[in-house]
């Protein structure tokens, strides 16, 4: 157990530095919607990359992925690397998103789809689907903060208090300067996450006797964990059920794909991709090694999600490194939370409330939504409502319903507004019915397979029998000369 005074001290120092960074970032803001939601489309490569990494690599990594390694072994590495390989989608779609946003001024991915298909309903449906599946996901980030802080302090920091701290940080950093403050604090938080995780994993490996002794002990004591399906968790159906929806994360999750609108130029986008690749691979390996180390140093835990708090309390990690790692995990959760809240704020302000409203009002509505989303997440994290947990688990499979319409937007001229709408609404309804009505687990590939098949068939089938809207934009045709000029496939 770690003294709550030390934990509060570390969080206080972290918050002060974050406030300073957020205020410094706010100096560049002009008050326009593009400035607030996209940082004026002028975010550089390194900040974009670290911010993207901090957004996509959440508290999930050192809490859930570590727990999945503890429970099921090396399959967790494969699952996370299939997710990692989803970055290949950015090679194809990243420049297209960027060029489209530069050409037509899109601020949100929902707006992009709406304009592509010439339908406000498509934009609204995309925004509603994002709200439905991302708000519960925010709750899990909040719960992660609460469980970690209360776990490492033996309950001295209570769950509601820990959640309140996370909520305040996320709200403040988002409200100050929108994406500028979010991106800059994200970049700093990514650095904290990486340094803390590297130090912590170094200490636990040293405590086991170094890399050689660590490998020997894993082989002697946990050989089954080195293969697939391992001790039982990672059967092929489970692996597919988890990996396939997560592979499409860069397209299906608007808080990530919106970042593709914000980079300064294609050089910055290339740099962003390189940063995410380096960070992602290293952080994945660290999280899995951390899980194996927990198996050796803190075996036989009843609940695998307690692997990280147990390892921090094991004595293998010095207190100052534990404090840094706690701040790192807090960073991972807050950076994901504030990015999602900002994107949802932008979608409500521009896609649901309407782009015709004044810029200042769009920013005001977005700020209000940010506060509401984070308060929702905080309240439900404390209440631990089962319906929210189910929706959060469903988020990856639910958000995938937007993928057929996104792929079609850039590569199929035959896609229509009716097809996109049918795909979004029908796919989301099916996901909800399968998970909440029929009780099919997210660990069952029937769930994601059915949702992908239904949303794709609906998109293609309904598009085939309907006509495109006259005000739809022909992305494939209009972007082709721009893509050729930039030497993009």
């Amino acid at each position: 157990m770690i003294s709550p005074v030390l934990v509060w001290g570390a969080i206080g120092a972290f918050a002060l530095i974050g406030f300073a960074v957020a205020f410094a970032a706010s100096r560049g803001n002009t008050g326009s919607a593009v400035d607030y939601y996209l940082g004026g489309r002028a975010i550089g490569g390194a900040v974009s990359g670290l911010s993207y990494a901090a957004t996509t690599y959440s508290a999930f990594m050192l809490v859930v992925l570590t727990g999945l390694t503890y429970r099921g072994g090396v399959g967790a590495l494969g699952f996370e690397l299939i997710y990692f390989s989803g970055l290949s989608l950015v090679v194809v779609f990243g420049p297209r998103y960027w060029l489209a946003s530069q050409t037509w001024g899109f601020v949100t991915p929902a707006e992009m789809l709406g304009r592509r298909y010439g339908s406000r309903s498509v934009a609204r449906a995309t925004a509603v689907v994002s709200l439905l599946f991302l708000m519960p996901y925010c709750t899990t980030q909040m719960a992660g903060i609460g469980l970690l802080l209360s776990g490492v302090t033996g309950g001295a920091i209570t769950l509601p208090l820990a959640v309140a701290v996370g909520a305040l940080l996320a709200i403040f950093w988002t409200l100050v300067a929108g994406l500028r403050s979010v991106a800059w604090t994200d970049a700093g938080q990514a650095a904290v996450m990486m340094v803390a995780a590297l130090l912590a994993v170094g200490f636990v490996v040293a405590a086991i006797g170094g890399p050689g002794a660590f490998a020997e002990r894993v082989m002697e004591e946990r050989a089954a964990w080195l293969g697939v399906p391992g001790p039982g968790l990672w059967s092929l159906p489970t692996f597919l059920a988890l990996s396939v929806p997560w592979f499409f994360f860069p397209l299906s999750n608007p808080q990530v794909s919106q970042r593709l609108f914000a980079v300064r130029d294609l050089r910055a986008m290339r740099s962003m991709i390189l940063w995410v690749l380096g960070f992602g691979l290293l952080f994945t390996l660290i999280s899995v090694v951390w899980g194996f180390a927990a198996l050796i140093l803190t075996p036989d835990l009843a609940n695998s999600s307690e692997a990280t708090p147990a390892l921090l309390a094991s004595g293998a990690v010095p207190v100052w490194v534990s404090l840094l790692l706690i701040v790192g995990i807090l960073s991972a959760a807050v950076s994901t939370l504030d990015s999602i809240a900002l994107t949802l704020g932008a979608m409500v302000a521009r896609d649901l409330a309407g782009r015709e409203t004044q810029e200042a009002r769009q920013v005001f509505v977005g700020r209000l939504v940010v506060v509401l989303v984070i308060l929702f997440a905080a309240i439900f994290a404390v209440q631990q409502a089962s319906i929210v947990d189910q929706l959060a688990a469903l988020s990856a499979a639910g958000l995938i319903v937007s993928v057929p319409a996104i792929v079609g937007a850039f590569f199929w001229r035959g896609g229509t507004a009716a097809g996109a709408l049918a795909s979004l609404v029908g796919g989301a309804a099916l996901a909800l019915w399968l998970a909440l009505g029929a009780g099919i687990s997210v660990f069952d590939p029937v769930l994601c397979g059915s949702v992908i098949a239904a949303s794709t068939l609906l998109f293609v089938g309904v598009s085939a029998v309907t006509r495109g809207r006259p005000d739809a934009i022909d992305f494939p045709g209009e972007l082709r000369p721009l893509l050729s000029r930039k030497a993009i496939w």
């Binding site: 494969g78 080195l226 697939v228 496939w489």
Partner: protein
């Protein structure tokens, strides 16, 4: 478009191999680090494929 199709096919096959090889070829009764090593090499190959994909972009 030929280069794009080649890249797409190659990357698609690579990702399929990331699932098929550990589940279809590598599992065995002998405990080993083969799956772990394979997935590390897979990650390096993914990075290589992405680097190829972005190498030609002009500003």
């Amino acid at each position: 478009m030929g280069a794009f199709r080649g890249w797409l096919a190659g990357t698609g096959l690579l990702i399929l191999a990331g699932i098929a090889v550990p589940y279809g070829l590598l599992p065995g009764d002998e405990p080993s680090f083969a799956v772990l090593i394979f997935w590390c090499l897979f990650a390096v190959a993914v990075i290589g494929a992405i680097l190829v994909g972005i190498s030609g972009w002009r500003r």
